[in-house]
Chain length 359, copies 4
């Protein structure tokens, strides 16, 4: 009940603080006989790791995952997959100045109040470092989903007010990793890059949005009431550090429409039953309908800024703190693989759950 596990049948449990010995996790419920491509997992991890360009943090972490169990002769055995990523290149001293101070819009204060003590080095458990474990599990989930024909990708669709000018339908997934922002549209990516770099130089940070798309999801995944497919996706996304909002299909914009505009008409096509439009975002009544599932996730600007800020310490005394060390001016480029991972975990779980729908 402490919320360090995610999923029901395909289940990830994680542990680890940013400046402890290691982070890691257990993936339980992955079916036996899945041939795992370990290079692909590491590749996904590398997309999340620090130091990829000058608009991400310059920390040097190799983020190398070591699998400890659950694999035999290249295949999953059906037993839990244990893994660790040892922490390296820690500069715990970078954090001694905030040992007793509460950084604005961080979790320092709430952790202290909840637990009575905390590992203050680098945010400890509240650090986004924990999400590396999600990427490992999500990558395995994707390899399972691939057997069902499912493909999931995400990209940066907005940085502050710079918006990707094309629909997710027109995005070429191959374009996403062509640039350090992970925006699949060259001009927009360039503009975003320059803007983030400017923000970085001013010691500031900036937010934006990521769009995630799941293609090829079979009809019938998702449960109809509390565990609607999009409800589980919403929780998955909101559990990522810095996320402030979620919408799927027509989203907030859809709430400005009339029923006659919004309804997706069913049509019979050569590929079977489909809908003429897809305001439903590929999900109806919480269950996938075979169309693309699309969602937008809003990220706030990173709380750690390279400017002096006033705050208070444990004793309520006024202190001045400034971010030290190596931080991201914009979390979006590195969050893309995390968003993908969470979507994959949700879908792998609902894939397994769907196996019991009928006699």
């Amino acid at each position: 009940m402490s919320g360090n596990s995610f999923g029901n049948l395909f289940r990830l449990s994680t542990f680890g603080e940013s400046h402890g010995a290691a982070i890691g996790g257990i993936i339980d419920g992955c079916p036996a006989g899945l041939e795992l491509n370990l290079e692909e997992i590491q590749r996904d991890l590398d997309r999340r790791k620090p130091g990829q360009s000058r608009i991400t943090t310059q920390r040097k972490e190799s983020d190398e995952v070591k699998f400890l169990s659950g694999l035999f002769e290249g295949k999953t055995t059906g037993t839990p997959i244990g893994f660790v990523i040892f922490n390296e290149n820690q500069k715990s001293k970078d954090y001694s100045h905030i040992k007793d101070a509460y950084r604005p819009s961080h979790a320092d204060y709430t952790y202290d109040q909840k637990y009575g003590n905390r590992d203050y080095r680098g945010g400890g458990r509240s650090s986004a470092r924990e999400t590396a474990c999600r990427v490992v599990a999500g990558s395995i989930a994707q390899q399972l989903l691939a057997l069902e024909g499912v493909n999931i990708f995400a990209f940066v669709s907005r940085v502050k007010d710079i918006v990707l000018p094309i629909s997710f339908r027109d995005v070429d997934p191959q374009m996403i990793d062509n640039n350090p922002v992970r925006c699949p549209h060259k001009e927009t990516a360039d503009a975003m890059f320059n803007f983030i770099d400017e923000v970085r130089k001013s010691g500031n940070t900036v937010g934006g949005a990521i769009t995630c798309v799941a293609q090829g999801v079979p009809v019938g995944w998702g449960e109809p009431v509390f565990d609607k497919l999009h409800a589980d996706l919403a929780k998955a996304m909101l559990s990522i550090n810095a996320v402030k909002g979620f919408e799927y299909g027509s989203g907030f914009e859809g709430s400005r429409m009339l029923g006659t505009e919004h309804n997706d008409k069913f049509v019979q096509t050569e590929d079977g039953i489909q809908t003429a439009t897809n305001h439903s975002g590929g999900i109806q009544g919480g269950i996938s309908n075979g169309s693309d599932i699309n969602m937008n996730i809003a990220f706030k600007p990173v709380a750690t800024i390279m400017q002096a800020q006033h705050s208070i310490d444990k004793d309520g005394k006024r202190v001045e703190i400034a971010g030290k060390g190596r931080h991201d001016p914009c979390v979006l480029p590195r969050a893309v693989p995390i968003v993908e991972a969470m979507a994959r975990l949700v879908l792998a779980d609902h894939f397994l759950r769907s196996k019991s729908s009928r006699v």
Copy 2:
């Protein structure tokens, strides 16, 4: 794993189809010794029931809840609270025309594909009638939360493009139920009412947004990683029929800010540590920080419209269907108590979970 239960320690499980014998549920984990005000529960239910004004469905359902267990001499006993709401005034014949047809943007098609059969009368399990059970449980949750000083309310903050012009901070909760729209601002409420009524007359439907606020939540509720307080709230809200999006605190707007604008400075006040602004929406690192928790929930326009629509049937044949019976032109006024209920369920669960945080 079929997703008909919600919550961990304070847990609601529901059953029932809109046109079966009854709907109902079990509330498990409510602590013993809670003096229950049954009138208050019925009052909350009455706010959700059909037929409250001419801008809601004219179905006549008394929605009377009967408690079958878990109460003794006016108090909870710690054993599960079983309850039923018998279905009345069913006009199942109203649905015979859609027995084999798939209504646009409804769950007919996905249910059929998932389960191979379905109770097509009135949407069956996919009907929002199921949410009456949530209101019962949410009302009990609120009575538990009241002992901790927590107060939760929701209101309609937008109908299509008609927006409540004041901040949630300036809303007087007493104003919410003064009008049939449940918008706490007379002029706006009137405009919304007239617009919905117009939409109704044209046989159309319209969407909008509800804002929900939780006041008095103690510091320290919520779990830090996957079960962040706002992640559970997001799932709760997205599990409500017709919801397309969720945001909390600064939300999507916050993702257009710079870090310097967005960060909430800690200040020492007479009431203890607080933040000068509240872009965090009362939650930092997934844990409540004592400030107001606020969130917006986007609802699509109701899918059942009173106009003819083309669709297809089970065999892929083209059919024409039109909504019959008694439907809501706008779901928002009746969704207010449902939103409140879901927020209450999440908070009651996290209240109980918080009891194990420390030795």
Copy 3:
């Protein structure tokens, strides 16, 4: 977490006190498309109900189950199956004498201490009346299991020191219900009946054992570590009122053997791989191996006796109490369908869980 639900994928949640309005439950996760024989469910319930012979309680309860949801045109729909059994023929006055007194070896004292209050009428939630809900769910589970070729039956194998003289392998399931004791061996059943009747006349009660057998379980059900098939069966059985012990396969007797005696040799037969002996009780490493699963369950004598007993009341004052009303001198005959039900619930759950074992 309040322990009123059982199972993971095939899940029963129950509510209800013996003298409240009703008992009932929700069966969640039953796959869609199962044609339900409702008469069979009622027949199973009737085997548990009071008043079947003079050696069971003479209470008159019709124990008629009403299904409220989850069925449509005779088949399960995949949505939760809600059901109630209304309480009748309650003689709550029979219990006013124990309102403040703690009956020996009952749950009065522990409930009071745990919850601070309790529904003292007829044991409230601690009454075995709750098990009627298990029989309903178990009967549905059996109908699901039957499609997989699984058959589960139980019988009384010992009353105090009167022991069924034949192995479970030689039991003819048709013989079980030929006599009111539910012992599949005429002479033994007669001896048991006479002994129980004697005990009854003396106002006393007596314990014994039930043996349960599951035939036709496919190889591969059960999970290898904490949720071993026999571990879940043990919990299931120990959750039944008055159960004090559980053993499977060779059981306690097997712990008096040497390895050379106990090991089950694998042999290749016309029907595939089997074992020459079955000390393993059909389960190896927590997973079914295709042989018969057999287990013994020990029941203590019923705590309510028709003789005066000294006890104390809430205030620690000495009181004298004697069982009033209508009670069972021996719980075994009526516990047979309950044991069967619990075994069925465990196996149905593991059947559904086994669907995700492999890609």
Copy 4:
């Protein structure tokens, strides 16, 4: 749902095969602020490790636990406690002869059938090596329980037909570890040791029973229906390798009693309400009543014997196999800390669960 986790609020998840890189686990839900004695944890582990005397396996494993997270400055932080025990001194070649053969009464056959492949080295996941993780978690659970005044210990009470002649009430826990058998009675321990050693020399194995006692458990732990305290204990014990049976309180013997003999009379004492006898085993209606909780657990003889046995291989061909390597002639001495660990996990979980019983 793959059964690699145990507990609800205090929850252990484990991973690892006997001959993989490591075994390990995550303990989630341990409250913050618990000062951990790491030496005590290692001491508990050492009681389980191989090579303690000539009547246990001669494998040399240091079984050193490394904690990776969840601790800061000597105290638990409320975040998950990740730990690993690296595998050493593996002699995987010892197992090449059984790669395709099914060892009698082992899990080789059922794993192969369930998963389609398995790590055959040393039993892989089905090896009792996994229980080292339980001992780590159980030791932490005990440190939490100690704050509540709970003390749990276990001992060998029977080896085949050699029975400890004294009641658990008369056992001095200090005597348990005085001898390699872990039987708290010198003469009996000597007889057991000699017998086991004889069995070992003949290449055979032998079973027996362990008794476990929990003292000082407060009144009110345990949930009344499916999660009765003894039901969870039964599952916990049956989840240990080689366990065939469980009984608590009067157990199987109690099922041979009359109600007048079995009932525990309540008496008012200086220490509050107690029972004159304790056939109930410290639990009534699934809830602890403050008396000692006692239970017996039956273990079969170890399946690996040092004698030639006939069996079959994957293709159904007859093969002859004999145990190679270093195995236990009797599992009981090393199982004592495992039994203790499982009891501690159950009680720590129910301790945390009990916090929500009342408003």
